[in-house]
């Protein structure tokens, strides 16, 4: 379904040239739930924007059902990492969620039902009439998620969508995503920094290397399809998988670290700010 082929992206401008993504090739099959992990700044957001048709790759291509993506394809929803800025401050929460539905041409009654349901499912049934800037960070993020859910997309791209919510809500939302994915058969690409989350959620985890980015590892998650927060997370296989991913990320960072000054050095006590 989604084919990323030899994707490369170099940012230019204001006297800075960054090769964010060097060479990415992987495939997401229809109806798959793939988690993407990788060090901070490795190009996950860049990749997602290229897949969403919002950014033109420097070279390589993104194919959706075999057709190159040149603009935002229909039926795809993105939850942006910068959730705060992706909500329109001039619209109330319900209006924010409703807007894409309006553009889709849904009848009013249906729109209203979708909005109410989506807000309820992210735990914000009472926030419909608030402006986004009247909400806490986590609430804003959940509004952005609700907007994507109400849109009923075929493909859902989520960029660290649960970063700002508390552990309990996060667990609930994780289960929500899995339920929706199973019921609707949608394709989900999920960027996260939480390794447990990646393993718990995904059918497959793709580990990216540090920038300039390539695919460091791909891992099939052979946990049973029926997962739940209590039992899955304590199963031995889960622990094995998460350890594996953790090691891969460390390997990815180590490769990058070899040539730049280091973060762990700071933690060891010799690179911290003088004081």
């Amino acid at each position: 379904m989604l084919d990323i082929r030899g994707l490369r992206k170099t940012y230019q401008g204001s006297g800075r040239q960054v090769e964010a993504v060097r060479d990415l090739t992987f495939t997401v099959k229809a109806g798959e739930l793939v988690c993407l992990v990788g060090p901070s700044g490795c190009g996950k957001t860049t990749l997602l924007k290229c897949m969403g048709g919002l950014l033109d790759p420097t070279s390589g291509e993104v194919l959706l059902d075999g057709v190159p993506v040149t603009g935002p394809p229909p039926g795809m929803a993105i939850v942006f990492q910068e959730y705060g800025r992706s909500l329109f401050p001039w619209m109330r929460v319900a209006e924010n969620v409703e807007l894409p539905l309006k553009e889709k041409g849904l009848p009013k009654a249906k729109r209203r039902r979708l909005v109410t349901d989506a807000l309820r499912s992210v735990g914000l049934p009472d926030a419909a009439d608030a402006y986004p800037w009247q909400l806490s960070g986590g609430m804003q993020q959940r509004v952005a998620i609700a907007r994507a859910l109400a849109y009923e997309p075929q493909v859902l791209l989520m960029d660290e969508p649960f970063a700002a919510v508390d552990a309990q809500t996060r667990a609930d939302l994780e289960d929500l995503v899995r339920v929706l994915w199973q019921e609707r058969g949608i394709t989900v690409l999920f960027v996260t920094h939480d390794i447990d989350e990646a393993v718990y959620l995904g059918e497959r985890v793709v580990v990216l290397s540090a920038s300039p980015t390539v695919v460091q590892d791909e891992l099939y998650i052979d946990l049973p399809d029926e997962r739940d927060q209590l039992h899955t997370r304590v199963s031995p296989r889960f622990t094995e998988l998460r350890t594996h991913v953790y090691e891969q990320i460390q390997a990815a960072k180590r490769a990058a670290r070899a040539d730049t000054s280091t973060l762990s050095a700071a933690a060891d006590g010799d690179g911290r700010p003088a004081g």
Partner: protein, 257 residues
């Protein structure tokens, strides 16, 4: 809070009037050429009792409302169109910069040639001058769209028109409001200047008569009227703004404090 603002504003005006009273009374300039507000008030009373004044006021306001409406509508429309179609922006920018600084006063003979001293002459000048104010503000405002917001809109498949309506327009709105406030004053200024020079009926021609008649207090009284008109216009604009921009940082910050 609103009351406090009104009070402060009144205090500001009172200070201004007191200053105006003091300058001639202290002999800084002769009261013959710069009459104190008390004398202007007398002349203003004369004017208010005169039917000609009211019909002139109506003429001026007609020119102003029509001119401002046309200019704002055209400015907003052209501004949005020019930004939505990048080709247009590239093609028109030099022409816009060329036409903009051409002073409307230099167009007066042209206006007279075309329309004589009718309302349409006034309109031509008013629209020409205030159109640019709105247009430039729209162009800058649309440029201010947050890239993340725009990307959000595009990723949800919002079409061009929907993005104009739901993303560009609200972002540009604060700029547009400023543009319209600027244009409102410019339109008033031009309406009166045109009447003054061409002789189209309105406050401007009354001012011209007062000027050439050496009726200094009357002239100031009429100027005061234009100032008060400007004041009222701004009050209206602010009220609209408070409603239309309730979500905006500038208005929002005030409600919370």
């Amino acid at each position: 809070m609103r009351n406090a603002n009104t009070l402060l504003g009144a205090a500001g005006l009172a200070t201004f009037l007191a200053l105006g009273e003091a300058v001639p009374r202290l002999g800084l300039v002769s009261a013959d050429y710069f009459p104190p507000p008390t004398r202007i008030a007398g002349a203003l009373g004369d004017e208010l009792g005169d039917g000609a004044f009211w019909s002139a006021l109506r003429d001026t306001l007609t020119g102003w409302v029509l001119g401002l409406g046309i200019a704002s509508g055209a400015g907003i429309l052209c501004g949005l169109l020019i930004t939505v179609v990048p080709f247009l922006r590239q093609v028109t920018s030099s022409t816009i910069e060329f036409l903009r600084p051409i002073p409307s006063v230099a167009l007066i003979p042209l206006a007279v040639l075309l329309y004589g001293s009718e309302l349409r002459s006034v309109l031509l000048l008013v629209v020409y001058a205030s159109f640019w104010q709105v247009l430039v503000q729209v162009l800058y405002g649309v440029q201010d769209v947050d890239p993340v917001a725009d990307e959000t809109a595009r990723s949800y498949g919002l079409g061009t028109w929907a993005r104009v309506r739901h993303v560009m327009w609200p972002t540009a709105l604060p700029y547009v409001m400023t543009g319209i406030r600027l244009a409102a004053a410019v339109a008033l200024v031009l309406a009166i200047t045109a009447e003054l020079v061409i002789g189209a009926p309105g406050l401007g021609s009354l001012i011209a008569v007062a000027q050439s008649s050496q009726a200094v207090p009357h002239m100031y009284a009429l100027i005061t009227v234009t100032g008060v008109l400007g004041l009222l216009i701004n009050l209206g604009a602010r009220a609209v703004e408070r409603r239309a921009l309730a979500w905006h940082q500038s208005v929002r910050g005030e409600a919370a404090l």
